[in-house]
Symmetry: C4
Subunit: 242 residues, 4 copies
């Protein structure tokens, strides 16, 4: 019995395991879609009732799945506190919590239901290669993350110095300037805040020449690490064949 349940839940290589996976993934997609529909303004009472019914159905299925996964797990505590165990729990917990609490607090807890989206990742094999790549460039990514944060700090302090007098509201403090700095260094550039003084513009000129690269280098690092991860994988397969 436990063996058959394990096959259903964890073994993608059998037809029944695959079909169960498809069913769960479809349900996740539908429940994410339903969650987005719920936020639409001006829904009729009928639609809201339907959405609540579907939400209840989803939570029942996900709860059953969660309990069974604990049941079939070899090391139950390990599963419960693993990343996916916590995601599985967070995907259903808000529903139970909100029924016993003030409804006004409901919305802030509902946002947690979004963790359900992470479950989509669970079933994807190609992710393994990504883990190899992540290990290859972990140190560089951490370093660039640190440099990027220093860059954001220095840029914010610099622009605060140049623009604070001319635009006391947009650049009220270094913390307020963080918003401009991150929007500029990632090249989003909404245009809600931008330097207007000559000093601020010249400062931004040099920040852009040096800073933009620092923010885009990590993406290139991950890309080249992924192509090396593939080579390592292929190398292992060739060794296994020999």
């Amino acid at each position: 019995m436990k063996q058959r349940l394990w096959t259903l839940l964890e073994d993608n290589s059998t037809p029944i395991g695959r079909n169960f996976d498809y069913f769960i993934q479809t349900l996740i997609f539908l429940s994410l879609f339903a969650f987005a529909v719920e936020t639409l303004p001006g829904l009729s009472d009928d639609t809201q009732a339907l959405l609540l019914a579907f939400e209840t159905f989803c939570v029942v299925v996900f709860t059953l799945e969660y309990v069974l996964r604990i049941y079939v797990a070899q090391n139950r505590l390990k599963y419960i506190f693993s990343f996916y165990g916590l995601v599985d729990l967070l995907a259903i917990l808000p529903f139970y919590l909100t029924t016993t609490m003030d409804l006004r607090a409901l919305r802030s807890f509902r946002i947690l239901r979004l963790f359900r989206a992470f479950k989509l990742i669970r079933y994807n094999r190609a992710l393994k290669r990504f883990h190899i790549a992540a290990r290859l460039v972990r140190e560089e990514i951490v370093l660039f993350f640190l440099i990027a944060l220093i860059m954001v700090y220095l840029t914010s302090a610099g622009i605060y110095y140049f623009e604070n007098e001319a635009q006391p509201e947009s650049f009220a403090s270094i913390f307020h300037s963080f918003w401009w700095a991150i929007v500029t260094l990632t090249t989003v550039g909404y245009g809600d805040v931008y330097p207007v003084t000559v000093g601020g513009k010249i400062f931004t000129f040099f920040v852009l020449i040096i800073g933009v690269g620092i923010v885009t280098i990590p993406a290139g690092l991950v890309a080249s690490a992924l192509s090396r991860a593939r080579q390592i994988e292929e190398g292992k397969e060739q060794e296994a064949e020999m």
Copy 2:
């Protein structure tokens, strides 16, 4: 006869085949240009008549080409339902359909004529290397596409939670927030919608630090796959020489 037609249509290595290709490609370019000219406001009747005449000429040539391609094809059904067979058909179909239908619906069908643009690709050899590269990184691209979609969903839901009250129109629902999310994560940043609350800005700060890379990594993946595709190609050529 059929052999000579095949040479004309499909064999780029003979002068007559090459010239036919140049002729068709020039016609495609001119008809795309004419289509753009047609949309200019305030055209005189003479210009419109001229454009219609040229359009008719193009369709006649493309129809002839299409019929001949079916005639010379070894496996006719396979050609008709291949990607380029469908593009060839879609490039001429709207013209015939619009003459038998209400003219008001014409404009929505004309847009299909744009598929003609895809025919330009048909004749390019360097595309082969791109196919090899695509096969090399297909799984990673699919994975990143999935992660990017999850990212867009989570970002939209998060910003909806922070900004809905302050800007009920721009962030009316999660669906409305998708627009902001995609414009921000691709770093386009038009500036028509942006967070104004402190919570929304801090949320965007972290989204930008993590999310921008995820959207730009696939481009780096394709670039490194293309350089490996070239190495594979060169390796095969060296083997063939030996």
Copy 3:
């Protein structure tokens, strides 16, 4: 005599050749700076006279240099019609032309003087590696350039179809939509034009997911080609040492 002039003009390995190069490069920088200063509004007559005097001095030096380069060249016609020969000529020609023509037309010719900037490149050795890299990925760059142009065309036609009625001025025709398409696909996103209809926004959503990569891939291609160009160079040096 001719031999000594050749050393002065073309041989960077001697002190006199190097110093002459430094002198010319400094003069190019200064004349570019002076050209920018000239465009400042509200210059005094004295400043304008000074700038004209300096401009005359630069042109005299550059003319002398150009004549001497022709004199010492082994194949004079080849030099005159080479890329740098033409740049050298274009850097001085506008000055002579403007003195014999209507002064109103002067400004449009002055812009040609900017070609002087290209002379800066002449002296840089690292450029060679760039040439190797360019040869390695020429076909891919051409292909992506073509795909990018098709992308711009299809995007413009699509957005024209969705937005023309809602914003008849910004999206007056496919040609007018080109502006929006290029600003969006390169992720600049000024925010002067953006879709407002639901259809246009959904269309832009998919365009951004697919299109942004196509525009950024060529940069990645060039980067990986440059690192291979360096490997090829190192390989040759090792062979030469053996």
Copy 4:
């Protein structure tokens, strides 16, 4: 005694050296945070007094650390004039200078205290690999930096020519146009300045197609150089093991 101090200050492999490092780094983070808090408008007198007290404490600790580092250094002059020696000095100097000078000038000197942020980098090992990568691609980066500057100059001069008459304030001179050029070529695109004439838009179209890549290529170069730096490092480790 000197030996023990050296262990404390410079030897990360002992527990006492590591703990000292953690202490200094935490203090740097806290003092950077305090500096940002100081810029917040409307702080109470108590908070300002507290921040000044903490600032004084930090400067005392950093001064002690600086003096000790000079004391334990083998070559004292070399340390004082090294990059980190200067950063260590600049991190404390503004505090002493401001107490003996007019307080109005204080703010412009305070900005120098930001150099303290650079100290964070000092302790990171992964930086070594970055140095190797920097040496590998130094020439290409310099070349692209030069090309990018020429690109900015040519783009500014071109747009000045097209837009000066239509927008005499935004494009008042080539210097004024630099702001538009850098914001466009790095794809930030705030939207405060953009071309409005047909000529200016067509010019920008071609600038974007060619120019955007030139600005993003250096990031790709550094990324691929970093992955080669890792290979070189691994190669050396394997040799050392043999």
